[in-house]
Symmetry: C2
Subunit: 270 residues, 2 copies
Amino acid sequence: MGHFNLEYPKEAVNTVKRYNAHAVYALETIHRIVNTCQILHVSFTTTTQPFPVTLPMIGQMGSYDRPSADLGDPLDIYLHGYVSSRLMNTCRGSTNDEANGDNNEGMPVCIAASHVDGLVLALASYSHNYNYRSTVLYGYATPVKDEEEKLYAMELITNSVVPDRWRHTRQPITNAEIQSTGILKVRISSGSAKISAGQATDDKTDMSNEAMLDSTWTGVLPIYSTMGEPVPSSYNRVKLPTYVSEFAGDYNADNKELSLKAAQGERRAL
Amino acid sequence: MGHFNLEYPKEAVNTVKRYNAHAVYALETIHRIVNTCQILHVSFTTTTQPFPVTLPMIGQMGSYDRPSADLGDPLDIYLHGYVSSRLMNTCRGSTNDEANGDNNEGMPVCIAASHVDGLVLALASYSHNYNYRSTVLYGYATPVKDEEEKLYAMELITNSVVPDRWRHTRQPITNAEIQSTGILKVRISSGSAKISAGQATDDKTDMSNEAMLDSTWTGVLPIYSTMGEPVPSSYNRVKLPTYVSEFAGDYNADNKELSLKAAQGERRAL
């Protein structure tokens, strides 16, 4: 399915209005931004207070029904959290409330994932900018009850933290661990991304301001996430395995390259 | 006022229930997490759809009424965005709606700021963890109309991207720039932070599993944001000024040190 370059439909909720030249609706781009983001911000509303509530969570996109799905295929988001947390409870309340037919498809959530790739410094403060990749997805969250699907999601999420980690951890996981791990599955309704990449630009008036040009540094300060030297635990007995050291190397090289390419104007998601 | 170690009151909305030993209510800690976060996730609700809406924004905490306030003093958040964006419009609607008395204090928003400091790898997948610093603040947003306050906020936010940048950009900024910059001021009602730092830990059963101990690497992969070699624009004429190079150096040294200290269990906000 990846061959078709699927896009999320443009609806009122997800259509980007400002700087819409930066907008992206392609599933593959959006899903990659989510899957490379170590913290997702998951927001939902409650009936008891006027503010939406945002929780930082770990999550990953995947398809239990079709585990071989590509990043560009329709996918769900699986979110990891403690089973009795506020979001899990609200979700359960929402899906169990039979009197409220509207809600039995799950709890409406908004999931945001953002990466900063650089600080763009121009002559005018007004022309300053970030290079960034950000996405927002809207969907309906339900707790995963099926044990096989829960195990699929736990493996998916563990391997999203460090690829191939799952099969190197103690197996099998215990029944108590499965019971006290809460997994939310979010069926995505719509989504969009914004990607900004490029060098400093200033308007014509500032570009003809010789005094400013002669005194003010303009350019990009690339920003990227780095993995430092691994710090073994006090009870570690083994040397760093290849699957971890290769991941750390790729993480650092890929993130650095992406921020430099962004400074050169290449709009690309990692 | 910083001497009094002010804390946000614990109310229903902001009291941390899970892992509450990680909870922090101190204003100084919370404000520092916000002010060192390059992207804030700002969420609000609308009447037209069931999902909350989250926007990635640039923001900074400060006090226009008392610009000399410390980080530990009561502060507002100033958020930067294009003036006609959805949030600005919703905000304006909310504050101009005289028929709706409840809303004239501003639009209820939730602001989240998160930093990842490390990936904590244990023997059991269930014992894996992140080192992180995250905060969520709740408050009421109103557009800043007073021109002097707007200028204060624009300088505050520009200098939060690169310290001392404002006075090195073209001054004065034009009236058109002021008019088309939207600044939201959020009066904070409550907030809390969670900070997790430390090494891998496993439960007793796993710690006595010799086969696992002999085969599985455990420890922390420190994660921190890095600033790469500055990339000058095509029209840059000057060498990198000291205030930028010093900022880049401090940024890299401080972030790296913080992630290493977190791996050693030091719960500290930068």
